[in-house]
C-alpha cells in the first residue's frame, strides 16, 4: 500500500498531483504544453540537485554543467549519428556521471567556498569547450536538427504525448528520490549535513556519502539534459550558461531543498512565472531576483518547508511511537586478551603549544576510567586523538589489539569506540528517535545497500533506537525534535546514540556538566549499570564529586601531562592534583 496514503499525509499532496494531471487539459495550447514540458524537465534537474545541495548540503555549481553535458551527448549523437533515444539517454546519463567521478577526487573534499569555486571553474571550462570546439559543437550558434524522442520505433509527437512522457519520468524520478532518501540513508544525509562531527562519530563515511549524492545529482541532470534537447530540438552552449545553474538554485530554494514536492513545485512555479508575469515585460528578471532574495530571507526552508512548519505548528499530528523489538541483537565478542585501550606516549601540539605530551594510559575491559584535570589541560584533546579527530604528532593508540592511530574517525567508530561530546552534537531538527536511529546507518554502511533505502531498514533501526531511549528513560520524548529538549535529556539521547553503535568502549566528555545534583546522581546510576553490563567507560570530568565515587581508576592531566594515576582515593590525596585544582597556597 502507498505509504503516502497510509501516513495520511496528505490531502495537499493529492491535490497537487491532481492539479498537475489536470493542468495540460486546461492549458492545452501547444505553447502551454511546451512550457509545461520544460517545467517537468527542470523538475527532474532540481530533484537531482537536491541530493548534493539539499541532502549533502554542498553548494555545487555544476548542476547546470551536468545538464548541459547530458544535452550535448544526446544532441550530438542524434544529429551526427542519428542514434535514438534508447541509446542516447543512457549515454547522456553516463557522460555527467563520468565527469562527476573525474572531478570528485580533487573537488569533493574541499571546504564550502572552495568547493563552490572549483565547481564553478569546471562549469566555465565546459562552457568554453562547447563554444570553441566549433567543428564538433557548432560553436556559439549551436546545431539544429536534434531528433525527437523515439521509443519502440515510434516517434513521440510534441504536445501532449511528449508532456505526458516527460511528466511520467518526473513521477519516476520523484519516486526514486523519495525511495532513496526516506530510509536510513536519508537520516545519514541529514546528520552529515547538519553536523559532520556527529556523523563521523557514528561511523558515517562522509566522503563516500557526498560522492553518492554528487553522482545521483549528475545522473538526474543527464536525464533532464537529454529530455531538454529532445524538446527544443537544437543544441547550443546556452544549456551550459551560468543562468541555468542560477535557475536551478532558485527553484531548489523556492520549493525546498530536500523535499520531493519542493523540487516539483519550485520548477513548476519558476518555469511558469515568466508566462504569468509577462505583463512585467523586461522587469520580469528583476522580479525573479527579488523573489529569490525574498525567499532566502523570509522562507529559508522553501515553500514546502514553510508549509510543513506551518502544519506542524497549527495542526500537529501525534506520531505513533514505534514498537519495541523483541530482544537485543548483540552477538558474542571474540577479542584478543590484554587491555582494551592502550595509549602510548601520545603527543600533539597546536601552534607551538603542547596540548599533550608523553601521555600514556591503558584501560582494561569493564573499567570505569576517570580522567580529570583543570580546564585546558588536554582532556578533550586526548579523546579527539583516540577517536581520530586529531592526528597525534607522535605516539600510538591501540584498541582491542589493533593500531588505530591513523584510522579515520568513522572507521574507529565502526570498530566500537563511541563517544559523547562536551557541547552535545545532536541534530536539532531531527527527532530524538531518528538521531539515535541514524547511528545504525553508519554501522551497517557497506556501500549503498538496499537495506539503507528500504523503509524496513529504518523501521528496524527505529525499533532498536526506541529500546535504547527506553533504557535511558527518555522513551516518551522519542518524537520530540532534539533542539527543544532540556540539556540533561539531550545528554541521554547522545548516550543512547553512542550505545546504538554497540560499542566496546564509550568515551564520555564531561557528561555531568550543566546537570543539577539530582540529574548527576541519576547519570551516575545509569553509567554504573552500563558498566555492569560489560561496557568499558572512559569518563572525562571536571566535577570531582561526581566522578570520585563512580570511577574504578583515575588519572589526572595538567598542562598536557599526566601528573597522577591510581585509585580515586590515591588521586584525591595526591598533592600535585590538589595543587592543580586548588592552586598552591601562596605564602600569606
Amino acid at each position: 500500500m502507498m505509504p503516502v496514503l497510509r501516513t495520511g499525509l496528505n490531502a495537499p499532496l493529492l491535490a497537487g498531483v491532481a492539479l498537475l494531471v489536470a493542468w495540460p487539459f486546461v492549458f492545452g495550447s501547444s505553447y502551454d504544453l511546451r512550457v509545461f514540458t520544460l517545467a517537468g524537465i527542470f523538475a527532474i534537474l532540481v530533484l537531482g540537485y537536491q541530493f548534493i545541495f539539499g541532502h549533502a548540503g554542498a553548494l555545487a555549481l555544476t548542476q547546470g554543467t551536468f545538464f548541459g553535458l547530458g544535452a550535448y551527448v544526446t544532441g550530438l549523437l542524434g544529429i551526427n549519428l542519428g542514434w535514438g533515444f534508447g541509446l542516447t539517454l543512457p549515454l547522456s546519463v553516463l557522460g555527467p556521471l563520468l565527469l562527476a567521478l573525474l572531478v570528485a577526487v580533487p573537488v569533493l573534499r574541499l571546504e564550502a567556498h572552495y568547493f563552490a569555486l572549483a565547481t564553478l571553474g569546471i562549469s566555465q571550462v565546459m562552457l568554453l569547450i562547447a563554444i570553441s570546439w566549433e567543428s564538433l559543437t557548432g560553436g556559439a550558434n549551436g546545431l539544429p536538427g536534434v531528433p525527437g524522442v523515439i521509443i519502440f520505433g515510434e516517434a513521440l509527437p510534441r504536445g501532449l504525448p511528449l508532456a505526458a512522457f516527460v511528466w511520467a519520468l518526473v513521477a519516476l524520478a520523484a519516486f526514486a528520490s523519495w525511495q532513496i532518501t526516506r530510509g536510513l540513508l536519508g537520516r545519514a544525509f541529514t546528520v552529515m549535513r547538519e553536523n559532520e562531527i556527529a556523523a563521523v562519530s557514528i561511523g558515517i563515511d562522509i566522503w563516500r556519502l557526498r560522492l553518492v549524492a554528487f553522482l545521483l545529482s549528475a545522473g538526474y541532470a543527464g536525464v533532464a539534459g537529454a529530455l531538454y534537447v529532445h524538446t527544443v530540438r537544437v543544441i547550443s552552449p546556452d544549456v551550459l550558461e551560468f543562468h541555468v545553474m542560477v535557475a536551478v538554485i532558485t527553484m531548489a530554494v523556492v520549493g525546498g531543498r530536500t523535499r520531493v514536492a519542493g523540487a516539483i513545485l519550485g520548477a513548476f512555479l519558476l518555469v511558469h512565472l515568466p508566462e504569468w508575469f509577462r505583463f512585467l515585460g523586461q522587469f520580469y528578471l528583476i522580479a525573479y531576483g527579488a523573489i529569490l532574495l525574498g525567499m532566502i530571507i523570509a522562507a529559508p526552508y522553501g515553500l514546502i518547508g514553510a508549509a510543513e512548519r506551518f502544519r506542524a505548528q497549527w495542526f500537529p499530528e501525534p506520531i505513533p511511537l514505534p514498537p519495541l523489538p523483541a530482544a537485543s541483537t548483540r552477538g558474542a565478542e571474540t577479542l584478543p586478551s590484554g587491555p582494551l585501550l592502550e595509549v602510548k606516549s601520545l603527543a600533539i601540539a597546536f601552534g607551538g603549544v603542547h596540548a599533550l605530551e608523553e601521555v600514556s594510559l591503558s584501560i582494561e575491559r569493564g573499567e570505569i576510567f576517570g580522567l580529570i584535570g583543570p580546564n585546558g589541560s588536554g582532556k578533550t584533546t586526548l579523546i579527539n586523538c583516540i577517536t581520530g579527530i586529531y592526528a597525534p604528532a607522535s605516539g600510538g593508540i591501540v584498541f582491542g589489539g589493533r593500531d588505530i592511530t591513523r584510522l579515520a574517525p568513522f572507521e574507529i567508530a565502526r570498530l566500537g569506540v563511541a563517544r559523547t561530546f562536551q557541547n552535545i552534537n545532536l541534530v536539532d531538527d531531527m527527532t530524538a528517535l531518528d538521531n539515535v536511529a541514524a547511528a545504525y546507518a553508519g554501522r551497517r554502511w557497506a556501500g549503498i545497500s538496499p537495506e539503507l533505502m528500504r523503509a524496513r531498514g529504518l523501521d528496524l533501526a527505529r525499533q532498536q533506537a526506541m529500546r535504547l531511549l527506553e533504557q535511558l528513560d527518555v522513551g516518551p520524548l522519542a518524537m520530540q525534535p532534539c533542539g527543544g529538549l532540556a540539556y540533561g535529556l539531550k545528554r541521554r539521547v547522545e548516550i543512547a546514540r553512542a550505545l546504538a553503535l554497540e560499542p566496546r568502549l564509550l568515551l564520555l566528555d564531561e557528561p555531568a556538566a550543566g546537570l543539577n545534583q539530582t540529574e548527576q546522581a541519576d547519570l551516575a546510576v545509569r553509567l554504573r549499570k552500563l558498566s555492569e553490563r560489560g561496557l568499558t567507560l572512559l569518563v572525562i570530568e571536571h566535577n570531582m564529586p561526581f566522578l570520585m565515587p563512580l570511577a574504578t581508576r583515575m588519572a589526572c592531566l595538567d598542562y598536557g601531562r599526566m601528573i597522577a594515576a591510581g585509585s580515586p582515593g590515591q588521586i584525591r590525596a595526591d598533592s600535585r592534583v590538589i595543587e592543580a585544582y586548588l592552586g598552591a597556597p601562596e605564602v600569606a
Binding site: 573537488v107 572552495y114 563552490a116 571553474g121 571550462v125 530554494v253 522587469f283 532566502i296 530571507i297
Partner: protein, 305 residues
Amino acid sequence: MLQALINALALGSAYALLALGFVLIVNATRAVNFAQGDMVMAGGYVAVALAAVLPVPGVALLPGVIVLMIVLGLVFSLFAYFPLKSRPPVSVFISTIALGIIFQNTANVVFGGAPRGAPPLFSGGLLTVGGVSLSEQSAAVIVVAALLIAGQWWLFARTALGRQLRATAQDRQMAEAIGVRVNGMIAFTFGLAAALAGAAGLLLANTFFVSPTDGTNYIIKAYIAVTIGGWGSLPGAVAGALLIALFEVLYPLLPTLLPLLDRWIPATDTLFSQTMATILLYIAVLLILFFRPQGLFGEVVQRRA
C-alpha cells in the same frame, strides 16, 4: 612587449581592486559576495551615466563613482547581509546571487544590452616613453588603481576607523566588547568593497566597455585571485589578481614572443588562444586547490589565539 606588459598590469590592477573588496567582505562576514563582479558592472554604468551628464575626463568622475558606489554597497548590505547574518554563510552566497540578478537586469532595462564605453581617464592618447609608445589609458589605470590600493592600505593600517574595521573582521564579539559598533563597521565594509569594485568598473569600462552580464566573468576572476593568494589575505588578493591578468594577457602572446614555439608545436593558434588561456587558468586553480588549499602564498589568516 612592453605595451603588453602594461596592458596586463592595467587589467591586473583593476582585478586587484575587485579582489580586495571581495576579501574585505569575506574577512568581515565569512561570506562570499557573489555580486562583487556585478559591482564592477554597476560602477562602469555609474561612470557611463555620469559621463552623459558631465563631459569631463574619467578621472574627474572617480569621486562621484566612489561615493555613489559606497551608498549602493550600504544598501546592498541591508538586503544581502543583515537579514541573514545569523544564518549559515551559504545563505548570503545565495542572497548575493539574487541581488546580482537584480543588478544585471536593472542595468539591462536602463542601459540596454549593448556594450557601452566610459570616457578615458585622461585623453586616451598615446604616451611616448623613451622612444616607445604606450597607451596612456593603461598607464593611467595602473596609477589610479595603485593609488586606490594604497589608500585602502592607509585607511586600514593607519587610521582609527581602519583599526576598528580590522578588529571587527578578526573577532566581531571582542570588537563589540571594546566598544566598536560592529554593524556599522560591516555596513561600511560593504560600502568600501562596492566602491573599490565600482572604481575598477570605471577603469575597465573605457578599454573593455561594460555590458550587463559582465559580472560573472569578474566574480570568477576575483574568486580565483583570492584563492590563489590565500583565502583572507589582502596582499595575496592583489598578487593573485596581477598573476591572473599577466597570464591572461601574456599567454596568448607566447607564439609571438617565442617564435621558436611555432616550429615545435603545431596548431599554435588553438593552443595559445584566449580561450585556452582561460581553460588553463581554471585547471591551474583546481590543481592549486588540490595541492595547496592555503593558496600559493602560504600564510592564511592567522588562527585565533
